[in-house]
Amino acid sequence: MIHRGIVLDKSGDHIIVLTRESEYFKLKKKGDIEVGKEIMFLEEDILREREGIHIPKAIAAAIIIIALSWGMIYQFGIDLLGSFRTYAVVSLDINPSLQFEVNKRERVRKVIPLDEDANSIIDSKMIGMDIEEAIFYSINRAIEGNFITGENNVILIANGAKKEDFNLSLGEDIDSRIKENIHEDLEVIFISLDKEDVKEAEKNHISLGKYEMFKLINEGNPEKTLKDIKETPVSELIKENREYLKGKIAGSKGNGGRANETLKEKNDKEIKEETKDKKAEDRLEEKARKERDKKEREEEREIRKKEKDTNKEWEKSEKEKIKEVRKSQKEREKEKRNKDRENKGNNRGESKKEDEKNEGNKLNNRVKLKDNREKDKGSQTLIPLIRRVSLLKH
């Protein structure tokens, strides 16, 4: 298929031409050519930007997929930076006893119920939560479920590293934070364990907190077995062994000191407690009711949000499908256009010369046109002289 065009521009590796059909093409550079000259060129001389488009698109698509999957993975707290592994363990004992396994990002990757009641508190929502958030959440659930009452209001939070010497940012002030944000009548004991203790506790299938308690109580009271400790709610344990524990914790390691303080406070309040108990119970009950209402509302919100999210994901996949369809459509169109261009040559000949049956004889047509031009401008024809003689016969 032969084309003609005027050279509009030239640069290092290509030239730009304008055809009679007002098409702008980029052509391979061939030798030197001046701007303004009209040239003949073939289909194969046209530089089309095809390959160049596909590759960037593929890379862009790849990046999007990676970004999306990264985002999703991160959300579920299973990110690739080794947060598949447990870096620390945090136990929560009230009486429901549960243990959180925490990743590098201090997010919960696993929750383990250590007794039956724990099952009612544990929720899959906890996975991926920040540890503090999870603790708060658990306490609230415990209140709702009436596990925490006026009498049973001591919460034992213990933490220990599993990997390296991971320092949880979970602070000792968790105690005051819980008091402020959840309920002032809650008592919190916060202990830290070292790696060996963590291992021991796990070996004995007991929570970190209770293990620590066991260690302390057992010293003074060897009859108390692990089982006993396991089954007794923390509040009771403390009450029973108050005196003993007071002394013991004062001398124990690290944050034990902090635990000591809490116990002291407890002692001071002891007198007030009986009177307070009843009030606390009422208040706690009220709180439980409020929590339950709040929860219902939250659940509704969650359901709506989940719907939105699945919609978004569905939209995303649909969009990607559409992109693919369009891509293949475009490719089909391009093919079609190329086919059209090839046919065009034949069609043009026929439509112009209706009164002559030339079966697409381009030569004749061009000569006819050229003859007309000749009369006007006196320039050379496309076909050399020898041809003109024979063609004049037509």
Partner: protein
């Protein structure tokens, strides 16, 4: 019956066709040459390493003659015709190139002595100059609109119908003094006005804006040679289609 036979005719091998031509079938000779013009051009440019100009196409004539010669001189059974034709074309073109080199040396001396230009056939030099100037003007005007020729290659409508629509729109808009003034002063298309007055969609204007602006500049800036180019002959046929 006739048309059916013609279908069969088309399936003739080259050998068959050559036989017919040798027997005196002039139409067939013309048909064959016509079909092989792209091949001839490719062969020529492979040797000359430049595009064939429309105005100065001596090598093109030589190539056609060479192909014709090959048809006459080819003996059946002596190998592939196309390869033979290629050889003939190549040798004629090489001869031509050699002559040209010698001529240019001569004409250099001539120019010094006689002060004449080397001419390879009739040429309309004034036309050449003007066209070059007009292209330069177009390039310049486009620049003030922040459009390059490269942009036009990438963003012009590839589809025939769209192109026609855009060109026709440009001719219409070019007659509208108010809009043309706006375009020239603001260096952009007044989309709202154009869509209102000429019934095209905003999407159409947005997608083809650079092409339309270029067209408007060609029309409005008296770039008559360019105008003629896109209007004349094949261009006209295209526009009237």
């Amino acid at each position: 019956m006739g048309p059916l036979l013609k279908i069969f005719k088309r399936k003739d091998s080259i050998q068959e066709r050559l036989r017919k031509i040798k027997a005196g079938d002039v139409e067939e000779r013309e048909r064959l040459i016509g079909e092989y013009i792209p091949f001839i051009i490719k062969t020529i440019t492979n040797k000359t390493n430049k595009y064939i100009e429309i105005e100065n196409h001596e090598e093109y004539s030589i190539g056609l003659e060479a192909f014709n010669e090959a048809i006459d001189r080819y003996v059946e059974g002596k190998g592939n015709f196309i390869k033979y034709a290629e050889k003939v074309i190549n040798s004629r073109i090489i001869d031509y190139l050699r002559r040209e080199r010698e001529n240019s040396k001569l004409s250099y001396i001539d120019a010094e002595v006689l002060g004449t230009f080397k001419e390879a056939g009739e040429r309309d030099f004034t036309r050449d100059m003007e066209l070059k100037e007009q292209v330069a003007v177009l390039k310049d005007k486009l620049e003030s609109f922040d459009i390059t020729f490269d942009d036009l290659v990438k963003e012009s409508p590839k589809h025939r119908d769209t192109r026609l629509k855009a060109i026709n729109l440009s001719w219409e808009v070019s007659k509208d003094k108010e809009i043309m003034d706006l375009i020239k002063s603001k260096k952009t298309l007044p989309m709202k006005r154009i869509t209102e007055r000429y019934g095209v969609t905003k999407k159409f204007l947005k997608g083809n804006r650079k092409f339309i602006i270029a067209m408007l500049l060609i029309i409005d800036c008296d770039l008559d040679l360019l105008q003629d180019y896109i209007k004349g002959d094949e261009g006209r046929a295209f526009l009237d289609s």
